[in-house]
């Protein structure tokens, strides 16, 4: 789980080229810092990808990380977003054990979190939830008692609010 005291978000736009992910991850690893989550995906321009990286580091060090990342030739932009109002979301798929007795109960919890059931068998239910990391954490905690068989989380994606670019 992320400790919000020591988690910082950096958003990085990169040229879609071989090795870029390794370069970016390597730069962070070299500074002895753990990557809490890293998500990569295309942007509105197919030649450019966005990486959203959450690192376990004190906020005052994030600008230094962003500066180091900007030195990677394929990095077009690297922003430390902690002081900027932003929206961040994460998606999780959670496969829990169900019995005829718990099924409704779980669906009620899912309702509260606006999670949806994406797969159902007589023994398992797979739920999809999106939200901020804390919301996903809370959802996971509530489901734990039914027995989580598997879980996959995307890691956080973030955009700055309003007209300003991330």
């Amino acid at each position: 789980m992320t400790d919000p005291q020591h988690a910082a978000t950096i958003s990085v736009l990169v040229q879609n080229a071989p090795g870029v992910l390794v370069r970016v991850a390597g730069l962070i690893r070299r500074r002895g810092v753990n990557i809490h989550s890293l998500s990569v995906g295309p942007t509105e321009d197919p030649s450019i990808s966005r990486m959203t990286i959450v690192v376990d580091t004190a906020p005052e060090r994030t600008e230094q990380f962003a500066k180091q990342l900007r030195k990677v030739v394929e990095v077009l932009r690297a922003t430390s977003i902690d002081s900027t109002p932003a929206v961040d979301r994460e998606l999780a798929l959670i496969k829990v054990n169900v019995t005829p007795g718990t099924r409704l109960e779980i669906m009620e919890i899912a309702n509260v979190f606006r999670a949806s059931v994406v797969d159902l068998t007589d023994k398992t239910m797979t739920l999809e939830v999106t939200g901020r990391g804390e919301k996903v954490d809370a959802f996971v905690t509530l489901l734990a008692k039914y027995g989580i068989r598997e879980m996959a989380r995307t890691g956080q994606v973030t955009l700055v609010r309003g007209a300003q670019n991330t």
Binding site: G19, V22, Q68, V72, V73
Partner: protein, 574 residues
């Protein structure tokens, strides 16, 4: 060596005049970058490249005997001349032998391009014979690297490599070329510009920040300039000198900054840091405004960070934004090229009132100059360094190895011009000195180049004496032979109660080794023989001269600020 699988046919020039293979394309691309010399060693994966070099009359390939030498020589070449140094090696072990030199170039921001052969494309990733993931290995030690997968991409890769190596903050770039790419025929386009949307070094400083810096300096009572290697990379010596002459502000230099300003200039206090002068260390630590230019606040310079210049406001100029605020917060950060920023700054600074400050500095300077004593019948390392300074007038290019001798030379050799002191600073790589001197001599054949090495470090790369002999280089190599890994022995003396664990050396007869290679060899055992031996070596033409100087094994390099401590803990005397 694997048998050649697909022989590249010579291009049938009549119908397709512009067709050439990847290796020929590489050579032509290097030619277009103005490459005259490259240092390297061949092997299976680079055979096609060597075949193409065979035809290139205008590009000299210097065959070294170990690839480590090729990389260090490229750095020496680059730092002596300001041009990009080039080295080449085959795949696998050839490429991994370059690693130390590439890392040195990264740490000391030297512009070099390394070209490595790679196994053929179809077997990449299969643990083929002599395969190593060289772009993977060198990722953290290069400014950029690339694996070229098509012959037609070679021109662009080479242009990009040279452009990245020499612009912005200089550094090493590696181009890895699979053997079958070197053999593949293509119709190269040499004019295609590399597209680098993410690479835009800022060269002009922010005018508002520059004005603020000028105000801070004008109002300072105890200002000082902390000048580093960035001034040399940027060619900013005239601007720095102009600033100092206009304002009277004193200057201290880092090891990498030696040569950034004439050290005999009265305003220049020379080197500070772990083995810098006491007065230079006192001066920077008492300063109220510090203009740091082209420096990175290395721990060998600052000691314990929180106690470094505790009363100062820092103005930090650097082309690399990531250096600013990395170790020490900058009150006035200025991202830009040192030459341009200083040029803009000079006219804005009003000379501050610093007579009292200078009086204090002069007092310190008089009280604690560098000094040494000659113990009976023993040769002081410092005497040799001092003498070399006097005999060359500080105008030779001095290339050192790493250890006590390096620090003593840094203390005693007073550089008059930029690019005259070349040493492995950030990495501190033993084995650097002699090969880098070799490279410097190829870059500046008409200048006096001297190598100053320790008995330990010289043995890491001395096999390339033969290369210097083969090319008839007038290159004196002075070995300050203290029968020890002297710097290690010194730390053991101070911090390990004199328990000399593995620091005492049994040495070969270096003069005879020199002679065996075809060089001149001189052995010096008594103080009164030193001067004539140095003169002979400096005057020896057409052949390297190995001078084995038996020095006082107990001499310690002082002053010293022990690692992680501050100026208050400086050890001044034995």
């Amino acid at each position: 060596m694997a048998r050649q699988m697909t022989a590249a046919k010579p291009s049938p020039s009549a119908e397709r005049p512009r067709q050439m293979n990847g290796a020929q394309t590489l050579v032509e691309a290097l030619r277009r970058e103005g490459v005259e010399v490259l240092f390297g060693h061949p092997g299976g994966a680079s055979l096609p490249i060597y075949d193409a070099l065979y035809d290139a009359q205008d590009i000299r390939h210097i065959l070294v005997r170990h690839e480590q030498v090729a990389a260090h020589a490229a750095v020496g070449y680059a730092r002596a001349s300001g041009r990009v140094g080039v080295c080449t090696a085959t795949s696998g072990p050839g490429a991994t032998n370059l690693i130390t030199g590439i890392t040195d170039a990264m740490m000391d921001s030297a512009p070099i391009v390394a070209i490595t052969g790679q196994v053929p494309r179809p077997v990449i990733g299969n643990d083929a014979f002599q395969e190593a993931d060289v772009t993977g290995i060198t990722m953290p030690i290069t400014k950029y690297n690339t694996l070229v997968m098509r012959a037609m991409d070679i021109p662009k890769a080479v242009r990009m490599a040279f452009y990245l190596a020499k612009t912005g903050r200089p550094g090493p770039v590696l181009v890895d070329i699979p053997r079958d790419v070197s053999q593949e025929l293509c119709e190269p386009d040499f004019d295609e510009d590399p597209v680098l949307p993410g690479y835009r070094p800022v060269v002009d400083g922010n005018p508002g920040q520059i004005a603020e810096a000028a105000d801070a300096l004008s109002a300072a009572e105890r200002p000082i300039v902390y000048a580093g290697g960035g001034i040399i990379s940027s060619g900013a010596t005239p601007e720095l000198t102009a600033l100092v002459e206009r304002t009277g502000i004193p200057v201290v230099l880092t090891l990498m900054g030696k040569g950034a300003m004439d050290e005999t200039h009265p305003r220049c206090l020379g080197m500070f840091g772990m083995h810098g002068s006491a007065f230079a260390n006192w001066a920077i630590n008492r300063a109220d405004v510090i203009l740091a230019v082209g420096v990175r606040f290395d721990d060998r310079v600052t000691g314990r960070l929180k106690d470094f210049a505790p009363h100062a406001r820092f103005i930090h100029i650097d082309i690399d934004p990531a250096e600013i605020g990395k170790n020490k917060p900058a009150h006035i950060p200025i991202v830009g090229d040192a030459k341009r920023v200083l040029a803009a700054l000079v006219p804005l600074v009003r000379p501050p009132k610093i007579e009292a400050w200078w009086k204090q500095i002069e007092e310190w300077r008089e009280r604690y100059p560098f000094r040494y004593r000659q113990r009976d019948g023993r040769i002081s390392h410092q005497y040799v360094c001092d003498l070399l300074n006097r005999l060359t007038g500080g105008r030779a290019i001095v290339v050192t190895d790493v250890g006590q001798h390096q620090m003593w030379m840094a203390q005693w050799y007073k550089c008059r011009e930029p690019r005259t002191f070349i040493s492995s600073g950030g990495l501190g790589a033993m084995g650097f000195g002699f090969p880098a001197a070799l490279g410097a001599k190829f870059a500046c054949p008409d200048k006096q180049v001297i190598a100053l090495v320790g008995d330990g470090g010289f043995q890491m790369t001395l096999q390339d004496l033969i290369t210097a002999v083969e090319h008839g280089l007038s290159l004196p190599i002075f070995i300050l032979n203290n029968g020890a890994l002297g710097m290690v022995r010194q730390w053991q003396t101070f911090f390990y109660r004199g328990r000399f664990s593995s620091s005492i050396l049994r040495n070969p007869n270096f003069a005879k080794i020199g002679e065996a290679y075809g060089a001149r060899g001189i052995r010096v055992e008594r103080p009164e023989e030193v001067e004539s031996a140095l003169r002979t070596a400096l005057e020896t033409e057409g052949v390297p001269c190995v001078v084995d100087i038996q020095c006082d094994p107990e001499e310690n390099c002082l002053p010293m600020i022990p690692s992680g401590q501050s100026v208050a803990e400086m050890i001044l005397d034995d």
